[in-house]
């Protein structure tokens, strides 16, 4: 029985949902994989909150420019048509609702769209939030890319987040290795099932009541 797709397949699945012309911010970590699967020949603009719209792929190893990095501090390139701006302008772009999509990782997503992805609340851990809270409330659509379950088998889609929140009611869709869920006023709606998953099997795994797509 197949119940999970690979992280690359999931990235490709997310990329397929991003229309040409969209302006997209891909969060640090797994979401950056989405860039590898954006359709060739289509123009989708990548925004990085440290001040660049029109971000290109990683440079050749011999052509790294330390002044040109993404939010994860990795070396990147700029496409023809790119524009640079300062941090206040960059976050105004996000906060003002001008980005079409951002893709973020998550520790937990609640059925009303709350996102927890910046802190596990462990005592002694050093807190760091970066641009996560701004991204969470900024884009027109906030997509979460995550495994359905933690490594120890705990659901990451929950009734109420136990971890400290990143944003309230901000997530529009959750792409997991088992299925895709829309966040709606009625809670999680199963948009697409991968492999042999069923709504019933997901309800059992999550301990949540799910709504099948019409």
């Amino acid at each position: 029985m197949t119940t999970r797709i690979s992280r690359n397949d999931l990235a490709a699945r997310i990329a397929a949902d991003i229309p040409e012309g969209a302006v997209v911010n891909l969060g640090i970590g797994a979401p950056t994989l989405v860039a590898n699967f954006l359709p060739e020949g289509e123009e989708i603009l990548l925004h990085t909150e440290n001040g660049l719209l029109g971000m290109g792929p990683a440079p050749e190893a011999g052509a790294v420019d330390p002044d040109l990095i993404n939010a994860g501090k990795q070396a990147v390139t700029a496409l023809p048509g790119a524009a640079y701006f300062h941090h206040a302008d960059s976050f105004a772009m996000m906060r003002g609702g001008h980005l079409d999509v951002c893709v973020l990782g998550a520790f937990q997503v609640s059925q009303n769209g709350d996102l927890a992805n910046w802190s596990t609340g462990e005592p002694g851990a050093i807190p760091a939030v970066g641009g996560a809270m701004d991204l969470a409330i900024g884009a027109k659509d906030v997509y979460v890319m995550t495994d359905l379950l933690t490594k120890s088998g705990e659901p990451k889609l929950v009734e109420t987040c136990a971890y400290p929140l990143t944003g309230v009611g901000c997530v529009s869709r959750v792409y997991t290795d088992h299925a895709i869920f829309d966040v709606t006023p009625d809670g999680f709606v199963v948009r697409e099932l991968f492999g042999d998953n069923t709504v019933a099997s997901l309800e059992a795994a999550l301990g949540l009541s799910l709504t099948p797509k019409d």
């Binding site: 990085t48 909150e49 440290n50 001040g51 660049l52 990683a58 440079p59 190893a61 011999g62 052509a63 790294v64 420019d65 330390p66 002044d67 040109l68 990095i69 993404n70 994860g72 501090k73 990795q74 070396a75 700029a78 640079y84 701006f85 300062h86 941090h87 206040a88 960059s90 976050f91 105004a92 996000m94 906060r95 709350d114 802190s119 002694g124 050093i126 807190p127 760091a128 939030v129 970066g130 641009g131 996560a132 809270m133 701004d134 409330i137 900024g138 400290p164 929140l165 990143t166 944003g167 309230v168």
Partner: protein, 249 residues
């Protein structure tokens, strides 16, 4: 004649007292004013409050300032990184205070200080730990928290080119916090690769007008720009290249 150039980095940071609040530009290593930070370390100023996006990388620049024990408190959005071991150690030992601010609120609060805004309602952080204790208000059906300006006594920033009036242009994503920090400090100190003649910067492309700049020091073109190819510093993941690899090349 207006000439904001000073002779060297030591002169640039002269007069920063113990206890000062100092904004330091840069996002990670990009745009970090390393020569000015080194001069600040050499100046011996202590009990500083630092405003930066991060809390230092590796053992140089801001991390070295922290390691020297000169920083009492840091205001930033993202202290914890793969190479933030200096900060991590100080924090765990209780030797540095941390004020964590979401990155966009950090940027907007710095801008507000420079723009004379008394406070503003931001949607970022609403309903989270980082908004606890802050005034909240619903406006047109959306929740906001009230955020106040962040000002500084000094800003140390890095730009690409300047003229003697202090007009600045930056380079790529090294621009980041420089333009807003320049507006929010009583005294703004800038290191640049090069000072060009007045009128050599395109007035349509000046990012920081000279009104925001007090002192400019030219630190020379970075080798990887001069040679046309990058030969050191960070790898593709942003990690510092091993010193041995640099020496071997």
């Amino acid at each position: 004649m207006i000439d904001k150039q000073v002779a060297d980095a030591a002169a640039a940071v002269a007069g920063i007292p113990d206890g000062a609040t100092v904004m330091i530009g840069g996002f990670g290593r990009a745009g970090q004013p390393v020569e000015l930070i080194d001069a600040l370390i050499a100046s011996g100023a202590r009990e500083l409050t630092i405003v930066n996006n991060n809390a230092g990388n590796g053992d140089t620049g801001l991390a070295a300032l922290l390691a020297a024990g000169q920083v009492r408190k840091i205001v930033c959005s993202f202290p914890r990184q793969a190479d933030s071991w200096v900060f991590d150690g100080l924090y765990r030992a209780g030797e540095i205070e941390l004020e964590l601010v979401p990155q966009g609120n950090l940027a907007e609060r710095i801008r507000a200080a420079g723009a004379g805004i008394g406070a503003f309602f931001s949607p970022t952080g609403v309903g989270t730990l980082l908004a606890e204790g802050k005034e909240e208000r619903e406006i047109d059906g959306r929740r906001y928290v009230l955020e106040y300006p962040i000002r500084a006594d000094f800003a140390l920033i890095s730009a690409y080119r300047a003229d003697r009036w202090g007009n600045l242009v930056y380079r790529e994503t090294a621009r980041n916090f420089g333009p807003i920090m320049a507006t929010a400090a009583t005294t703004t100190i800038v290191q640049v690769d090069e000072v060009v003649g007045l009128g050599h910067l395109d007035p349509e492309a000046v990012v920081t007008p000279g009104i925001f700049v007090d002192r400019v020091v030219a630190v020379g073109e970075r080798p990887w720009l001069r040679d046309g190819v990058f030969v050191g510093g960070v790898d593709l993941e942003g990690s510092p290249l091993a010193a041995s690899a640099e020496e071997a090349s």
